[in-house]
Amino acid sequence: MVDLVLRAANLTKVYRGRRGHAPVDALSDVSLDLERGTTFGIVGESGCGKSTLARLLVGLEAPTSGTIRIDDQPVVISERSASRELARKIQLVFQDPFSSLDPRMTVGKALKEVLTVHSLHTDMTSLRASELLSMVGLTRRFAERYPHELSGGQAQRVAIARALAVEPEILVLDEPTSALDVSVRAEIINLLVRIQDELKLSYLFISHDLSMVRHISDDIAVMYLGRVVEMGRYDQVFVTPLHPYTSALEDAIPVPNPEHERSRQAAGAVAVHVQVDKVTRGCPYAPRCALVEPRCRDTAPTLTEKANGHMVSCLVALDDAQ
């Protein structure tokens, strides 16, 4: 029996349009299961709905429809005070640590504040603070420091320590390495893997950096225009991608290998990016797709299992299965 820490079912989020504008479907019918102690990676371009998904999961916004269950209990987000206890179990780490830390609060105070917010009456003793800091590889002297005295990597470590302060079960990591220097990214990724093993944490890792997602994730969902277009184990998605969009994303990443890049240029591979706001009929990816067929413009595919839990939403890819 699989131990699921988080189940999101049929999540949909529609933002009301501004006057004279149509409503925006930020998320359409997204379902995912997060197994305890594992990492679920979510990739896609900006505007694909990955950050909306993060906001719904941590309870910053209520979904238009659909359900979220943590530890098999439904999360209700309609009222302000509702399910604090469940909200405690899922914490968010943002992309830019400096804009998520209060510049006028010392690190120690920031750690303490989380406990107050969650009305946990345990004290943030200096012992607990230094324990949290050492967990993320900082000495207890950092408790006295202000954010401006930290480097990017140190600030992101503090943000992680703060998320850990309430002993969550799930961390939602929204582009946690994108704002950092290349040399610091590896440190943060190594840290995340280490504390996941130590604390049996589950991660939702959102990023457009496919090489990092592939490195850290057990399962991966590829999102496009608010929908999941491909989902499966990391090796399924990256070794044998089914959806043409996944392949296009893969092709677009510059590989740190000049030979490889030269052969790409010789082959004339082009990743096409077309601005698509809304597709009313057929497959939403059809306007950009290299493998598009006439039927794709009429019939919208649904996310269907092709093999061993490897799901894809593409008429052409599903046909090849037979």
Partner: protein, 325 residues
């Protein structure tokens, strides 16, 4: 070896104080030939952006200033030219694309008008400027150039804005294009399109390109030669092929190793450089990388190495030959 088009010679940039100055860029020499694509790699604080800004005399002065060195465009020292000539060079012969495109455009003016202004400032008639604006917006691969031309910046996506910035930079047919991390904030698919665009435009026009980035993948796909900066100095210069095949500075090697690649296994520990970059105003004697360097020895604490020829076009500011690592 062709003569350098833009030659940055031994440039020192410092925070000017009442008594002396604290140097944060310490003797950087970088040159590009016509038609060359050069990558400049380094982490934040390594001085790469300051060096590029100094070329067009755009340093925030005070407190920053070029304390020493020359910047030659075809032999003409840009530090000494008068204001009129400087205006002609900026955006004319040397164009620059900045990292944050949203804050580089006027939010209250149609983007097409802003490109026209650049052209008019460099001597085009209104009619020519308007034609040329349409032409360059088409060249950068925007799907509907006419609509973009009459849009305000907030009506365009990040990728479209960045292409507008590139169109603006290219409008005057510059001889040198300086791009400071222009694709860092963009999606990989748009980044790929911009890299292909710059490659093809560069092949057409023969301009020199200086591409500042910390993405080694971008380096591999775009540039011919690479300069690696650390703590305000150039620590390695090499051809792109050599840099990846045989890095000759330990810092470059560490950077390459820290990337999750096809070689590293799933969830295995990535190589960490360890430590933090030094404060460039508080460097003692010796190599600034030595505290993070696995190959450091006694000599490294005593004297800072200059660039040493390591063969095959590679130069590294490291006492140790890579064969002794």
């Amino acid at each position: 070896m062709t003569a350098a088009l833009l030659d940055i010679r031994d440039v020192h940039i410092g925070i000017i104080r009442r008594h002396g100055s604290d140097e944060i860029v310490r003797g950087v020499s970088i040159s590009v030939a016509p038609g060359e694509k050069l990558g400049i790699v380094g982490e934040s604080g390594s001085g790469k952006t300051l060096t590029m800004l100094s070329v067009l005399r755009l340093l925030a002065s005070p407190p920053l200033g070029v304390v020493k060195g020359e910047i030659l465009l075809d032999g003409e020292d840009l530090a000494r030219v008068d204001a009129k000539r400087l205006r002609a060079v900026r955006g004319g012969e040397i164009a620059m694309v900045y990292q944050d495109p949203m804050s580089s455009l006027n939010p209250l003016m149609h983007v097409g008008k802003q490109i026209e202004e650049t052209l008019k400032a460099h001597g085009s008639s209104p009619l020519v400027a308007s034609d040329r604006t349409r032409e360059v917006l088409g060249q950068v691969g925007l799907a509907d150039p006419e609509r973009v031309r009459t849009s305000f910046p907030h009506q365009l996506s990040g990728g479209m804005i960045q292409r507008v910035m590139i169109a603006m930079a290219l409008a005057t047919s510059p001889r040198v294009l300086i791009a400071d991390e222009p694709t860092t904030a963009l999606d990989v698919t748009i980044q790929r399109q911009i890299l292909e665009l710059v490659t093809s435009l560069q092949a057409e026009t023969g301009m020199a390109v200086l591409w500042v980035t910390h993405d080694l993948g971008v380096v591999a796909s775009l540039v011919d030669n690479v300069v690696v900066m650390y703590a305000g100095r150039v620590v390695e210069k090499a051809t792109t092929t050599q840099l990846f095949a045989r890095p000759t500075h330990p810092y470059t090697k560490a950077l390459l190793q820290s990337l999750p690649g096809t070689g590293s296994s799933h969830r295995s520990a990535l190589h960490q450089i360890g430590g933090t970059p030094p404060d460039p105003t508080r460097l003692g004697p010796g190599c600034p990388f030595r505290v993070r360097c696995p190959y450091a020895e006694e000599k490294c604490a005593q004297a800072e190495p200059e660039l040493i020829d390591r063969g095959e076009g590679s130069f590294a500011a490291c006492w140790k030959d890579p064969s002794q690592w």
